[in-house]
């Protein structure tokens, strides 16, 4: 366990450096910077802009120099201040990261809770109408564009009034709510974005689960379990599903990237204040410290997610030992 952790942390360092360097390089090489918008503002003098440019090292166009100016303080835990919001980047980003984790986490849980029984059912009733229906639904889920699905959901929310059409909580009532009410309110706002984002990975999980279950159901120990006189349900639920879960957990690591990309669009449509919308806004404004810190967070989320997948695999399957 300890060695696995150390190895993963060590392996993530080159990845972090490569990705942040690439991001910084692209930011430096792209035309214009944050200060361009300020020149148009008559209230701000050119010497002030000059000073800001010096302070933020925007006057240098050397990629390596600029990267070092970011990297050195960042290594000491200082991610700088946002250009546009004059607040420390960490304070801006923490809440956003939590919101995105909330959204992607619940989407993952939902898609697993739906995919495992559906995949198992499709395998048990293989080739019959149940299998066909599940196959078709997962196919539709695979093909529906996130943007379109999100917009349809917003429309649904607006028409029926059953769910809030956007945001993370009720802006007006939030301050007077009790903790319990806040929890319920956030959950209420979470439903539709979770459905959309949960659908993104659903089809893949269902297919994988079905394939794996078909494989497992033909094994000898399943026949033994049936011969022992266990009910069909017990065999499927206790013996087959438990053994079919492994590849699904491996898939979890891969699907994180998908999920985070899908989260950007879902957050954008549902005005969910997450990491995705933060990066999008920061990129538009060329707010470099925010982009950099958010990129670090994104990579960290991927690394930690993959680590969790490995640990989970070891917990579920005693045959796999972490070294």
């Amino acid at each position: 366990m300890r060695t696995l952790l150390t190895r993963r942390v060590l392996a993530s360092i080159p990845l972090l450096i490569a990705v942040t360097f690439l991001t910084k390089a692209l930011l430096v090489l792209s035309p214009g910077n944050y200060l361009d918008a300020l020149y148009a503002n008559p209230a701000i003098g050119p010497d002030h802009i000059e000073r800001l440019s010096k302070m933020w090292h925007l006057d240098s166009h050397n990629v390596f120099e600029r990267y070092w100016y970011w990297l050195w303080p960042a290594l000491q835990g200082d991610f700088g201040e946002s250009f546009s919001k004059s607040a420390s980047v960490l304070s801006l980003i923490t809440e956003r990261v939590l919101n995105t984790l909330l959204l992607t986490g619940s989407a993952l849980v939902v898609s697993w809770l739906v995919a495992i029984p559906l995949g198992a059912l499709a395998a048990v009733y293989r080739g019959r109408w149940m299998d066909r229906v599940i196959g078709m639904f997962s196919f539709l889920g695979l093909s529906i564009p996130t943007v379109f699905f999100s917009l349809l959901m917003v429309l649904f929310a607006a028409r029926t009034g059953l769910f809030p059409a956007g945001g993370i909580h009720d802006q007006r009532m939030w301050d007077v709510m009790t903790p319990w009410q806040r929890f319920v309110d956030t959950l209420w706002h979470l439903v539709l974005p979770t459905i959309v984002l949960g659908t993104v990975g659903l089809a893949q999980y269902v297919r994988q689960m079905r394939g794996e279950m078909i494989d497992v159901l033909s094994r000898d120990y399943i026949r033994t379990a049936r011969a022992k006189g266990l009910s069909r349900f017990q065999v499927v639920a206790r013996h087959a599903v438990a053994n079919a879960l492994n590849p699904l957990v491996t898939l979890f690591g891969f699907s994180l990237a998908y999920l985070l990309a899908g989260a950007l669009l879902t957050e954008y449509v549902f005005s969910w204040p997450g990491l995705g919308t933060l990066i999008y806004d920061a990129l538009r404004d060329k707010d470099e410290p925010v982009v950099m810190a958010a990129t670090v967070m994104l990579v960290l989320m991927l690394v930690v997610g993959n680590l969790i997948a490995d640990v989970l695999l070891a917990v579920l399957d005693p045959r796999i030992r972490l070294e």
Partner: protein, 338 residues
């Protein structure tokens, strides 16, 4: 097969967009923003209950602020075929102004309604399909070439070359592509023509998307290079590039085609996402993505839901490509059927 027919119809419609669309993509009637779809308002019986050629009643603006319209029974516009209207180039070559259908001026025929500028959504969907549907094909061609070259080299030479290239592939696969695409898009700034943006989008998507192909092809090359005919080619003293290009890569083709077909939706959805976020194809040019971005305004979405129509077309195109890819995969590898 239904998928293939759907795709043929969609791509044919994109090719003939100018002829099929009653209006040009930027033909705006500012007096008629957010006009409701007329598809359910085409009459085939006149006021006396007799059958006549299909016609629509003209509409009058009731409340211009709220974009409310009412049917005006006093005037009707018969739907005519092969009418003259906006000029376009037939199949991109022949100048023409004949459209498949339309109504006489001053009437307007909005099959799927109109958008905020009073442009015909049906016409814009047709013109938009030229962008949204071709981006998939062009993108897949570029990324397949990159993927075949990289996968071929990595698989054939192995060792450190393979190791380095595969780490790059892994990083590309592990990163959330959309963020990477957005950052790359920054590099090109704004104020570009739509043709430039089109190619920028294709190149960016291909730069991100080749990794899947490279990995698949590398895996196949690894097994193919042990085959007798490759060993024979090597014994004959052929150059490495000749062996890769002439002996190995052609044998991966069936799987390359399957992977390529299954990745077309990635390009279609990539363009949709970029244009929807406002960094892709810019109005007045139409693409399915930038048409959808109108729905991002809450009031527009709730009051004029027909602005979502392009979304159905994206959905259908993506389903069709996925179905086709699945079918091809089953055909190429019958084992998956079991």
């Amino acid at each position: 097969m239904a998928a293939l027919y759907t795709l043929v119809v969609l791509y044919a419609a994109a090719l003939l967009a100018g002829f099929l669309a009653p209006y040009s993509y930027d033909d705006a009637d500012h007096a008629l923003p957010f006009h409701y779809p007329m598809i359910g308002h085409v009459h085939i019986r006149d006021e006396n209950g007799r059958f006549s050629r299909p016609f629509i009643y003209s509409t009058t603006v009731v409340n211009p602020q709220r974009a409310e319209y009412a049917g005006d029974r006093s005037a009707k516009h018969p739907i005519r075929f092969f009418v003259r209207g906006d000029e376009y180039r037939f199949v991109g070559l022949i100048k023409s102004n004949i459209h498949l259908f339309g109504v006489d001026k001053p009437g307007r025929f909005f099959l799927f309604g109109s958008d905020s500028l009073g442009q015909d959504i049906f016409s814009r969907i047709l013109y938009g399909s030229q962008v949204s549907l071709t981006i998939g094909i062009v993108g897949i061609l570029i990324s397949t070439v990159i993927g075949m070259v990289v996968g071929g080299i990595a698989g054939y030479f192995g060792g450190p070359t393979d190791f380095t290239l595969m780490r790059v592939v892994e990083v590309l696969l592990a990163l959330p592509s959309l963020y990477f695409i957005l950052i790359l898009r920054q590099l090109f700034g704004e104020g570009l023509s739509s043709i430039q943006i089109y190619f920028i989008i294709v190149v960016i998507l291909a730069l991100v998307g080749w990794a899947t192909e490279a990995r698949v092809i590398r895996g196949m090359v690894l097994s193919i290079k042990e085959q007798d005919y490759v060993v024979a080619a090597r014994a004959l003293g052929f150059s490495n590039s000749r062996i890769i290009l002439r002996h190995i890569l052609p044998n991966t083709l069936s799987f390359v085609i399957v992977t390529a077909t299954l990745s077309v939706p990635f390009y279609i959805l990539g363009e949709v996402a970029l244009s929807f976020l406002g960094v892709g194809i810019q109005p007045p040019e139409a693409s399915w993505g930038n048409m959808l971005s109108a729905a991002q305004q809450f009031r527009v979405l709730t009051d004029f839901p027909w602005v979502l129509t392009p979304g159905f077309f994206i959905f259908v195109a993506v389903i069709a490509w996925n179905f086709l890819g699945d079918g091809l995969r089953d055909a190429a590898d019958p084992r998956t059927l079991q």
